[in-house]
Symmetry: none
Subunit: 415 residues, 2 copies
């Protein structure tokens, strides 16, 4: 079943806010087998809204609309819906009770403008919004179902989960659609594609593969569609098994899991502790790890030593290594990893030294050259990487590569 | 002049990727006087792409397309463009040189799949992409200008800035639009609005004010539209002067400058050095500062001490302070700031200790409570902040607030 999402509001068209609602809705709709065929962001103008509502019905049986329901003048959606449905606005007691409760909680009384928030087109079903003043609306025209919701993310999410998704299930006959996503790090999209070309060419018609690349990572998503959930699950399992047989060592997780989350799980399961000694990543690895709630259960801390002086003074890197091999070298990241393990008393350490750019490169060590060290109770590992010419990408790729290098050492996965 | 943005790719429609490209493009287009009238996200299917290209020409004179240009099978955009333009693909030597260079830097040779990356429709102008393998394409049909670009954000941004925006200026008659953006930190949108209400109400008709809020910051953008550049500049200068008179101490920069860039400028100008001692921000401040090229000229390093043990062992925080006041306290951030200055031998230090959440809060110190210390040659400063209940927001707001606190101390700006 096909769905179009329409977001109404100039704030998206002028780039003032990024439309995160649509991505969230798309994920929830996909889970239940609804295909989002188009996402359309339009302005608050009546003519534009009416045109979009009509065009959407040529592409979809379900049209979800967010935004344009605030009390101020630039929000004209409800007026448009009345024109679209050829009906008038009617007052909804139940929504008004919510409006009154919300205003009371702020110690205010409801003004005339806000009283209008509780009105909905007569030809719609009012989806009472318990989290805000603007109700949702469910209506049909020419066999297309339309749902209008407020644009405030937590209000929209609450309405979707409590009312809209259950109603979709009642109203439509839904297919079964299952996804399986494999997260890889450190291998480019085209190299991956060349490795699994035969496997990909032999996928059955009802199972699709998508490559989802981002800096330093590629996610591979299989989507299976049918009627028999058990059968689809078996197919995805078998396809997953053969994918693991080919590129398993590059898959660090399935689904939405991130590398910092994977590291956290392994570390906590093993009751191990970790610290980082960072130079060119400048604290980015520590920041990634500590962005995850619960990181304090294993992450002890980090030392960012940008200067050679501090590498020596704080981490005990030898002047000789710095002079002989330079700060970006195997010897130095080994000494950083070992120094950090000793200083912080941690089981594992990550060390990074590289040339992030844009300056500082040489013929021998161009921008993007990064040495990564991993200190462990069994000894220290080190490896050289070559990333890009962009500082931000180099920091991101070095951080992810360091985490993945640690993961592979922890799990005993060879290069 | 009206523009539609079309993003191609199932990854947006199934919600695995949030479309941040469109917001960025909308901001850049707005700056030069192009109105984005619609943003349309569609799937990788040929029929859908062709329909979207045709429909967009009914709404806009300029259509910017991103995505769908990767080397793998799910990317069909270029084939569609050939059908749309009724022409064949031709090989572009200049783009192929880039493809070869990129592959060579990874020590690889170009496969047949990747050789195709350098092909463009014969009826298009190839916009050579120096940052990636997929070129941009500029073409016209029925007086509508279309531009296709890769969806990888930094490649798209580079193409937009280096080639697409200059070409838009050449091709269309554009109005004169001047912007002046004032960046503030630490004051909410509605409080700012109440302070400058009279000033805002007295803006002339052709000068608009926009509030651009993001986590911990609000930017105020004045946009003046007309024909006489000198006159508009004079008006913006005078309006800026009166804005500074009212809220000047909250403005840390103009334009796109970030707080880390402002700190870097001040530090380098004064030949001062800086280090950070971070707990709840987990290295985020160091990562923000070192993301800026040239940070090594003043930034020496950082210590992330997540555990109390390391706060004592590495930074010399007293056990007594930790026991008496807790890790999130004035005494502890003062000792962290002073300990770091001594340990790293830096002129200035930032220290942060707080409760990022979601757990760890108490009645007295709820989640979002953060103490920030600033060590200086003239003594140590400390201040308590109260942010939100969200971990990510708390880390971001604490980082920005710490940088702004340092800035105000450096410049002698009172609270």
């Amino acid at each position: 079943m096909r769905c179009e999402i329409i977001t109404i509001g100039d704030e998206i068209l002028i780039g003032q806010i990024v439309d995160t609602n649509s991505a969230w809705m798309a994920v929830e709709l996909n889970k239940v087998g609804v295909d989002v065929v188009q996402i359309t962001s339009i302005s608050d103008q009546k003519g534009h809204i009416l045109k979009a509502l009509n065009e959407a019905s040529t592409r979809a049986e379900l049209v979800l609309i967010t935004g344009g329901l605030g009390p101020t003048k630039d929000d004209v959606t409800k007026v448009c819906l009345c024109e679209f449905l050829n009906c008038k606005l009617v007052f909804n007691e139940e929504q008004f009770a919510v409006v009154e409760r919300i205003f009371k909680s702020f110690g205010r009384t409801v003004s005339d403008i806000n009283r209008k928030q509780a009105e909905v087109p007569e030809a719609s079903v009012c989806l009472v919004n318990s989290q805000g003043t603007a109700p949702g609306m469910w209506f049909e025209k020419n066999n297309t179902v339309y749902v209008s919701m407020p644009g405030v993310p937590y209000e929209m999410k609450h309405l979707m989960q409590s009312q809209v998704l259950p109603r979709i299930h009642e109203r439509f006959a839904m297919p079964v659609i299952l996804h399986r996503t494999f997260c890889t790090q450190g291998v480019g999209e085209s190299l991956l594609a060349s490795w699994i070309e035969d496997w990909e060419n032999n996928l059955p018609e009802h199972i699709k593969l998508a490559y989802l690349p981002s800096t330093g990572m590629v996610r591979l998503r299989l989507s299976a569609r049918g009627t028999d959930e058990n059968q689809l699950n078996l197919e995805l399992k078998s396809l997953g098994d053969s994918l693991y047989a080919q590129i398993g060592k590059h898959i660090y997780a399935e689904g939405e899991k991130t590398l910092p989350e994977v590291i956290q799980e392994i570390m906590i399961a093993r009751k191990s502790s970790l610290g980082t000694a960072e130079s060119c990543t400048g604290g980015a690895i520590a920041a990634m790890l500590t962005a995850i709630p619960g990181a304090s259960a294993y992450f002890q801390g980090s030392t960012v030593t940008y200067s050679n002086t501090l590498k020596m003074k704080v981490l005990g890197v030898s002047e000789n290594s710095l002079k002989t091999f330079g700060a970006v070298s195997e010897a130095v990241v080994r000494e950083m990893a070992e120094g950090l393990r000793k200083l912080y008393g941690v089981d594992y350490s990550i060390s990074v030294s590289g040339i992030a750019g844009p300056d500082g490169g040489s013929e021998e060590k161009p921008v993007g050259t990064v040495w990564i060290g991993i200190g462990t109770p069994q000894g220290t590992f080190a490896k050289q990487f070559r990333f890009s010419t962009d500082r931000g990408r180099n920091i991101q790729m070095a951080s992810l590569s360091a985490l993945n290098y640690l993961r592979r050492i922890l799990l005993g996965i060879e290069d």
